[in-house]
Amino acid sequence: MELRPILSTLLRHKTAAALIVLEIAFSCAIVCNALFLINNRLERMHRPSGLDESHLVFLRINGISHDAEGNAVTRADLNALRAIPGVRAVTTINQATFANSMWMSSIKLRPDQEDSTMATTNYMVGEGGLDALGLKLVEGRDFKPDEYRNADDNNYPSVILTRALAAHLFPGASALGKSIYVFGDQPHHVVGIIEHLAKPRDAGPGAEYDMSMLFPVRFSYMDGGIYAINVADPARRDAVLDQAKQVLSHIGPTRIVSVNTSRTLEDLRTRYYRNDRAMAWLLVAVSAALLVVTALGIIGLASFWVAQRTRQIGVRRALGATRAQILRYFQTENFILATVGIVLGMGLAYAINQLLMSKYELPRLPLMYLPVGAVLLWALGQVAVFWPARRAAAVPPAIATRSA
């Protein structure tokens, strides 16, 4: 295919050609970044929490006034909850993952350290907590029965860390057997490492999402403790939750169920990520609309060109050009314009990414998005131009002999 006639025709229609190129460049740049943002959100939503998400429900109750017998009531509550049919295990925990609040504490590696090394979340789990929550131990051991303390006792002998936190605090060495200082001057010995446990909420850099520590602490409902219930059959989670609320309303002093925290963990996760999900869908919608508008633009301008060049096409047909050659002419023309647009668009995509990086702390756009965007825009151009090009190919050679 001879490129020169195409190029010289394009040069005679600089404005229109430039408009198509610009439109493709902008689309390419925005679509590349939108795809990247969508992928970012999806990755964020699919980080593992480390918990047995399909079986867990949380139940939180609030006392109406101060209750000195909080620990005894909590023990009775736990026994009553364990007796509900279909409940595999129950434990207490100080905070629910994906709920509204988060406990944070600073970690020191020496008792006399002035600045803390870092601050991260501390989960306080009661007896049988690791099993009930479905946390996977990868090194060391679970807490021993004599290590559990009440919440008002700040002297916790042991701690379990997530693998990410252990690696952060003790790089290149095993954390097992080492000590950290969180509550006062008494050391907490690292007795175990678990695979994953997400912080209740995102705070700090994204890499800290999986940095949690667990302490063996019995939290009473008066301390703001939450009951974590592991239900054998996922289909019965809501039923068990309702039954648990009823059971608890019959024992202990008057209490009210906290609506926001008393849910299945899956429900809490869905609610936590709903903004990300909405944003991802919005980006999908905008990208689709963008591509449609670009395609319509290409169709519009190409149709105009075809109409303008009807005579020229007729002359070529009369001189022996086949329909396929006419079709290919317009397809090639669009390919050239799209290529220029895509090259410009990649530069623009990179510039937009730079802006996003500085304003929204996003990572750099991986290079793989550029060829994806390029192929998308090339394909879009070819499909869009096909219809006007086919009309051009249908121009009869006889038109060359007619006066305009």
């Binding site: 404005t15 229109a16 408009l19 198509i20 610009l22 439109e23 902008f26 689309s27 925005i30 939108a34 943002l37 609030n62 006392g63 109406i64 006034s65 101060h66 002035e114 600045d115 006062g184 008057t254 009210i256 906290s258 609610r271 709903r274 903004n275 909405a278 944003m279 919005l282 980006l283 905008v286 609309a289 963008l290 508008v293 670009t294 319509l296 633009g297 519009g300 301008l301 149709s303 105009f304 109409a307 303008q308 996003l356 304003k359 929204y360 305009a404």
Partner: protein, 434 residues
């Protein structure tokens, strides 16, 4: 003349229905998307207390001991310690001042058959009400005297009043709040400031608290707190004690119209200097005195997703405009011969330019009207979103006018280049080729 242009434009639209419809639709999509996001942005970034926001100041200082002070860390300390807040309050250097914190309490029912429920609460001092123009339907707010006396009183929202007393004036009645008796002395009128600028450590958007209690009373009764609390030492007397090394209070001051913020700042500098003398800390104290809008800006109250959506929609509008320019160009130049005839018959270039701009403008306004519909639809979708600012996403008159302004402006911008090209059509060549 304009009537003639309009007539020509309408003829041209009739001749090219598909192309015209495409242009109108493109502009409508761009305008619809832009106005949806612009309206959300406009709502979220608007002044929550107009007319007064310039004179209300949030006071922020860093009271960490020198051993823990890290200048890079200063953003963590957005709130005040109780010691500093009480001292400034006592000195009363501004026109009005209030210290406050949020919490949640359990209300016991007043009538049989109701069950206990939890509400958000605010613990503050007397000036809170006049300072933030809080409207009262019944009764009155408490006085500085009540603060000093640790009076067992409360001001409740009209919603809570409705819940407890079925809408009858609840002042004078006693309610059970987290196990304690408080007397209702005032009932608020509808009061919803959005964003809730006075305390950004809790939800930024949404309804105001249901119950307001004097700070001293709430401390006596150990009402539960919510929001953030930053402690940097052990606290044998409890985290809310006067001397506790914890930052957890919001402190607002209202300065008089004539009084100078610089003056107040000097007073605060002097206060910090005296803390140096007292040996609490030696570092500069990172004093900040921000008015309402500066404070909202500082806390990035407009969610970053909303900003991102705004940029995305504007990018979309740019592409829609590029598209419209292309289509208008195709449309105008197809009529080159018509332009040639008009020019040969004596129409000036300016006339041709004006006529095509009118045509572009009509496309823009039609697209704008359609875009307005799309924006209203978009806002309805936004309101269905789970975000806590969603219910506020409504279009006001400003945004309505802005929609047409933007539609007209963008279509004229889009029309300028094609009209320019049309204007430069050479009559002789066009006539010859006929």
């Amino acid at each position: 003349m304009l009537a003639y242009y309009l007539n020509l434009a309408l003829r041209s639209f009739r001749r090219n229905k598909a192309l015209t419809a495409l242009m109108v639709l493109t502009i409508a999509l761009g305008i619809g998307a832009s106005m949806t996001t612009l309206t959300v942005f406009h709502v979220l970034s608007s002044d929550p207390i107009p007319g007064k926001s310039e004179r209300l100041f949030y006071v922020q200082m860093n009271a960490l001991p020198d051993s823990q002070y890290d200048p890079g860390d200063r953003d963590e300390l957005l709130q005040m310690t109780r010691l500093d807040a009480e001292s400034l309050l006592k000195q009363g250097h501004g026109k009005r001042q209030a210290m406050m914190s949020a919490g949640s309490v359990v209300i016991l029912p007043t009538a049989a058959g109701q069950s206990a429920f939890r509400v958000e609460s605010r613990y503050t001092t007397a000036d809170f009400f006049p300072m933030f123009d809080v409207p009262l339907k019944h009764g009155h707010a408490w006085s500085a005297r009540d603060d000093a006396d640790h009076a067992r009183v409360a001001v409740i929202s009209s919603k809570l009043n409705q819940q407890l007393f079925g809408g009858a004036d609840g002042t004078g009645r006693t309610i059970q709040v987290s196990g304690q008796s408080l007397q209702v002395i005032g009932v608020l009128n509808t009061w919803a400031v959005n964003p809730r600028f006075y305390d950004l450590t809790n939800d930024e958007f949404g309804n105001s608290e249901e119950i307001f209690v004097p700070f001293s009373t709430a401390m006596d009764l150990a009402f539960p707190l919510s929001g953030s609390m930053w402690c940097w030492g052990d606290t044998p007397e409890g985290k809310t004690a006067l001397s506790a090394p914890c930052a957890w209070l919001q402190y607002w001051t209202e300065l008089g119209a004539g009084s100078d913020a610089a003056d107040y700042r000097r007073y605060l500098d002097n206060y910090i200097a005296r803390q140096h003398d007292a040996g609490r800390f030696k570092h500069p104290g990172d004093l900040k005195l921000l008015n309402v809008m500066q404070w909202l800006d500082r806390n990035h109250v407009v969610p970053s997703d909303v900003r991102l959506q705004l940029w995305l929609a504007l990018g979309f509008l740019v592409i829609c405009l590029l598209n419209t320019i292309g289509l208008l160009l195709a449309k105008f130049l197809r009529r080159s011969s018509e332009i040639g005839v008009r020019r040969a018959l004596g129409a000036s270039r300016r006339t041709v330019f004006a006529q095509y701009l009118v045509e572009a403008g009509i496309v823009g306004l039609t697209g704008g009207s359609l875009g307005l519909g799309l924006a209203l639809l978009g806002l309805a979708i936004v309101r269905k979103q789970p975000a806590d600012y969603a219910p506020m996403a409504h279009m006001d008159l400003t945004m309505l006018l802005a929609t047409f302004g933007l539609a007209l402006l963008s279509s004229l911008l889009a029309g300028a280049l094609p009209a320019w090209q049309a204007m430069h059509v050479t009559p002789a060549i066009q006539l010859k080729s006929q």
